[in-house]
Amino acid sequence: MKALQPWKIWLVIVVLVGAIIAALPNVFARDTVEAWPDWLPKNQINLGLDLQGGSHLLLEVEVDTVIEERLEDLVSEVRLALRRERIGYRGLGVRDGMVRFTLTDPAQAPLARAQLDEMNPLLPTDMFGIGGGREFTIEDQGQGQGRLAIGFSEEGRAERVRAAVNQSLEVVRRRIDELGTREPTIQRQGEDRILVQVPGERDPSNIKELLGRTARLTFHMVDMDASLADAEAGRLPPGTMLVPSTDPDDGVSAWVVQRRAELSGENLVDAQPSFQDNQPVVSFRFDNTGARRFASLTQQHTGELFAIVLDNEVISAPRIREPILGGSGIISGNFTTESANQLAILLRAGALPAPLTILEERSVGPDLGADSIAAGQTASVIGIILVGVFMALYYGRFGLIADIALISNLILILAALSLLQATLTLPGIAGIVLTIGMAVDANVLIFERIREEMRAGRTPLAAIETGFSQAMRTIIDANVTTLIAVLLLFEFGSGPVKGFAVTLAVGILTSLFTATLVTRLCVLLWYRRARPARLPL
């Protein structure tokens, strides 16, 4: 009986008992498990969004917008610099992704270049001092004709994109946190994408609305002298712009406001929904700098109108009745309680550097999730019973041993998924059911081999020994091939399909353990007691 080494018996016992303890939390409600003493494992299997309900959104940061805006800013900077140095130029503007202009006097090219070089920022270096190039490249196009072009350097562009995506990630996180949902996942994906997963949210349109706005808030003085009619006909006073109004109380469809923003949302420290004269409003507070600027602005312009602009729309244009020195104010506009609340959230969380596009959306309601869990459980139980009964009928006593292995396998899978904190999805449940069918394969291989060995005239014990060792090689070969397919599935699959790959892979590995150790142990223990002259196989 050399095959019955005590350490193997102990290994099986320890692993199985450990697995039962690790799988136990899944049988109880979450609240019950929370109350357990600390030394017990409390990890429950993570349910995927398709099982617990929730929303999955894949967003793309429109980085082109960021790049374009930066180039537009650069145009103003270049204009200022050239004027300051009295360098004549013409045709300054953004064309084909570069800021271009032509010098009136090509001889001034070196002077112009010096100015441009000065405003070409150095990029930050990483911890090894690598990087640190310039943000832009400056080219002199057309020999000696003074045609200059400024564009992003490769690193400059990458750095911009990186910063914009990081900032977007941060803003998205703050906005989602404001919803107060449990355990949202917000991750960067690839270069310019953000994955948002929010469990349990019944209506994803709520989240989409929250993420669908850049929420850039700016304060502008209204040009009191300009006539709206002129402006709409395209005759705007220099340095002003026409912005449509969303507040019907304004009595006008649009406002002519100064291009320059006096203050912006970045100066806010807080925003809350509240009520004024029974109307929903948003109250806000400036930081120190903002408060000082707001105070001097309201002192200088008492009696005039200023416009509060959100994403290129005037949401309110109140008159400054008296200087506001306390650094806080109220935005009243065409709000409902809900939209006031939403604006407050957006202002608190800050503006997105660029709009977000929804590339993919998958939301599952909690009731469908619950239905799927119930269906998965029913299918698993029926699957186990069918396979178990079939094995017992076919292999008799040995079939019962295979059934013990089958149940151990199931416990091991649940334990492994709980410990790994892997996510169980609906295809994942299918993976478990499939494993139930396929895991008995190892036992079938072993038993069939033992039958053959008996037919070849071996004694029961020899037949068992040879059966196991001969079948083992085949079992490993056969399972490695399945594992290869499963690994690829994990690598290329997404979401729920990944969950299928995980359970199938775990199931294959645990079935190797149960088939080789658990089955073998049971067979040998039984044999030692019964000592049959013929195996009942």
Binding site: K2, D367, A379, L386
Partner: protein, 329 residues
């Protein structure tokens, strides 16, 4: 109370059937290829982009009214079908012209139209939207995964056995993959992300089956040195027949439980797997093994033997069961 699926010792002449089997398989593969173009695959939103909604209405859903209402929105092709039970409806909206924003507008338009019909009493069980960018990437990833799977198992078989076995295995796998895709084309079953999972699982399963028989062929080559190859292949298949059928049966039992009780969402996935298990088992016996006939197995066996053999591991390790001396602990 025990029973046998097959008698203990069968002597079925599988190899004799090989020409019939190959003709049948050839025809089926040809048919699958044709079906791939006509009627073609019914790609779901994962690979084509578009919108899918599963809604539950308060009573039995009136599909006609819903169809009429939604078709007025001018969103192009809208598919409406009952899903599992009469209160549940699956709505498919084809990918909209334009960018991602246009798709979102369509979702909102449909939700508004349904709200007009049912008010608050309609519940959205599932809303899925896949934009053109992502659907293209998913399709690429799916094709990539299946191709890589075929290549890597070929390499594995090559490494573990000899190249002849690799050829047999890969032809059988291509056969299985093609027939599975054919099933999708002929039945119009939706091709989505889980289809890729199903195909890869079938690849794994079918190979598993093939490896078991090849293992036995390799063993028998050493055991019966003078037996003609066709007889030897027949013997190998016969010896493993009980196991082949038994494993297919238990897997099918589990899959049928899943098909009938696992819910509407994964029915297509399960159906593909059931089909895959059946053709995977068939192809192992009638495609993978007969191909070994065309390749000179005995030569490689002899070559490995001549090398005196520590290199290929199991290919030359240990005698067959009848002559085996030591038992491993």
């Amino acid at each position: 109370m025990q029973f046998r699926l097959v008698p203990d010792e069968t002597k079925i002449r599988f190899m004799r059937m090989r020409f019939i089997a190959m003709a049948v398989s050839g025809l089926l593969m040809l048919g699958s290829l044709v079906a791939l173009f006509y009627p073609g695959l019914n790609f779901g939103i994962d690979f084509q982009g578009g919108i899918l909604m599963e809604v539950r209405t308060p009573g039995a859903a009136d599909l006609g009214t819903m169809r009429g209402e939604l078709n007025q929105l001018g969103l192009g092709e809208i598919g409406i079908q009952e899903f599992g039970q009469e209160t549940d409806v699956l709505i498919r909206i084809a990918r909209q012209e334009g960018d991602e924003e246009a798709q979102q507008q369509a979702v909102i338009a449909v939700q508004n139209a349904l709200a007009d019909l049912y008010g608050d009493e309609i519940s959205y069980r599932r809303t899925e939207f896949v934009g053109p960018k992502v659907s293209e990437e998913l399709l690429q990833a799916g094709v990539m995964a299946i191709s890589l799977a075929l290549v890597s198992v070929l390499v594995y078989i090559w490494f573990r056995f000899e190249w002849q076995y690799g050829v047999g295995a890969i032809v059988a796998l291509v056969h299985d993959v093609l027939l599975t895709i054919g099933l999708f084309a002929v039945t119009g079953l939706e091709v989505n992300l889980t289809t890729v999972a199903a195909v890869l699982t079938i690849v794994g399963y079918s190979l598993n089956d093939t490896v078991v028989i090849f293992d036995r062929v390799r063993e028998n080559l050493r055991r019966y040195r003078t037996m003609p190859i066709p007889d030897l292949l027949d013997t190998s298949v016969n010896e493993t027949l009980a196991r082949t059928l038994m494993t297919s049966l238990t897997t099918l039992l589990a899959l049928f439980a899943l098909y009938f009780f696992g819910g509407e969402v994964i029915k297509g996935f399960t159906l593909a797997l059931i089909w895959g298990v059946i053709i995977g088992t068939y192809s192992t016996v009638y495609i993978a093994t007969p191909i070994l006939l065309q390749l000179d197995l005995r030569a490689i066996g002899a070559k490995a033997e001549a090398k005196g053999g520590a290199d290929k591991g199991p290919a030359i390790e240990g005698p067959g069961p009848a002559r085996r001396g030591k038992a491993e602990g």
